[in-house]
Symmetry: C2
Subunit: 208 residues, 2 copies
DNA sequence: GTCTATACTTGGATAGAC
DNA sequence: GTCTATCCAAGTATAGAC
């Protein structure tokens, strides 16, 4: 049961091919989660999208769950990097809310958060998956905490409520909004909330 | 393909038996969703818990999805009735937050919201399920909107933010918190948020 | 090391027995 | 009208070919 990627006996050709197959499968796993959810993300469904035989899922990842976790890793890395860029120019709570709204819209359009939501919900039905998913969410909460601390740590709000708790709540809200918006295909209620948040941010700035 | 419950040819005995089988299946569907999620809620898994043969799922409900929707209906009805009672004695924003916290704890303990979350996430993988689930969530949002309007409609917050938007956000937050708390089995971060909300409610009351 | 063909299991659904 | 025996599709996983 040799793991792929082991160093011995690898030709240039086979090494490159393996890596590409893995990449293809990971990409296909992401789109499968987006299109048919965790429940529909079988080895067959993913492999078909990837254009490779179904057995390769098990050869390269050992199980469907592992492949889905790899997909989650890929999306997390991609998004966190992007969030970092999006927040680079932020200099006020108002900017922060605006950036959050833009990022939310992107996430919804591209279905990035769907992947996360499906994995969280799906974790209930696959033994051992829960902790793995939980671990992969922590960076999102940490990122949010830091962004909040930077822009609002010194404000009246930051004085009353610990950043860690707020960050947890914001991520929860983000996931919930994604879930509801995705469910009925209407993002307007969610975007309305961002607009109100912008108003409150303006109000808060006026106080300081 | 006669639907059960048709009036003709029914003995007292058979009518009672059918209703009881349906009830048993619905209850089993709820616990199955709670224990193994949407992905694990197969006709066989549910029927085993109900102690009835698997084919009865299709006889009585036509499909697994229909049975799961019936389970969601049962939970929704039960919870909305209970929420109504819990809010009967509420006379201030502070009371409202306290009641919400109690209800949240109950929901988490009994796994009621898990059913909802699993159905929302699972809707992605079953064609046609989305709208059905969306329809069943609307009452939760309406209920929240009314509760908010009653206690905070006249406050500064109510003046700035439309109740409908807030209600949507609160339900989203509620679902997200349930999802995260359930995932890593730690409800403390969520409960901390309710504590902060209580403080803010107190603050708001001081202003009015 | 990489991948394909095949074994085995579980699940949805229904034809027909009671 | 109610339920059971059975069928077929879809899923996971691996033994063995290249």
């Amino acid at each position: 049961m040799a793991k792929p990627g082991s160093p011995s006996q690898l030709t240039e050709r086979s090494r490159g091919r393996s890596a590409e197959t893995r990449r293809t499968l990971v990409t296909a796993a992401v789109t499968t989660l987006q299109e048919v959810g965790f429940g529909g993300a079988s080895a067959r469904a993913i492999a078909e999208r990837a254009g490779v035989p179904q057995g390769l899922v098990f050869y390269h990842f050992g199980s469907v769950a592992n492949l889905l976790l790899a997909a989650l890793d890929a999306v997390s890395a991609e998004r966190l990097a992007h969030y970092g860029e999006a927040l680079a120019g932020v200099e006020s709570p108002q900017d922060l809310v605006a950036a959050a709204r833009d990022v939310f819209t992107e996430d919804l359009d591209a279905g990035y958060v769907t992947v996360l939501v499906e994995m969280i919900a799906g974790a209930s039905s696959t033994p051992g998956l829960g902790p793995e998913v939980a671990q992969r969410i922590r960076p999102w909460i940490d990122f949010t905490r830091e962004a909040f601390t930077r822009q609002l740590g010194g404000s009246p709000l930051g004085a009353v409520v610990p950043a860690a708790d707020v960050a947890y709540g914001i991520v929860a809200l983000y996931l919930g909004l994604e879930m509801l918006s995705h469910l009925d295909g209407d993002r307007r209620p969610a975007l309305a909330l961002f607009a109100h948040a912008a108003n409150l941010a303006r109000l808060l700035e006026a106080l300081t």
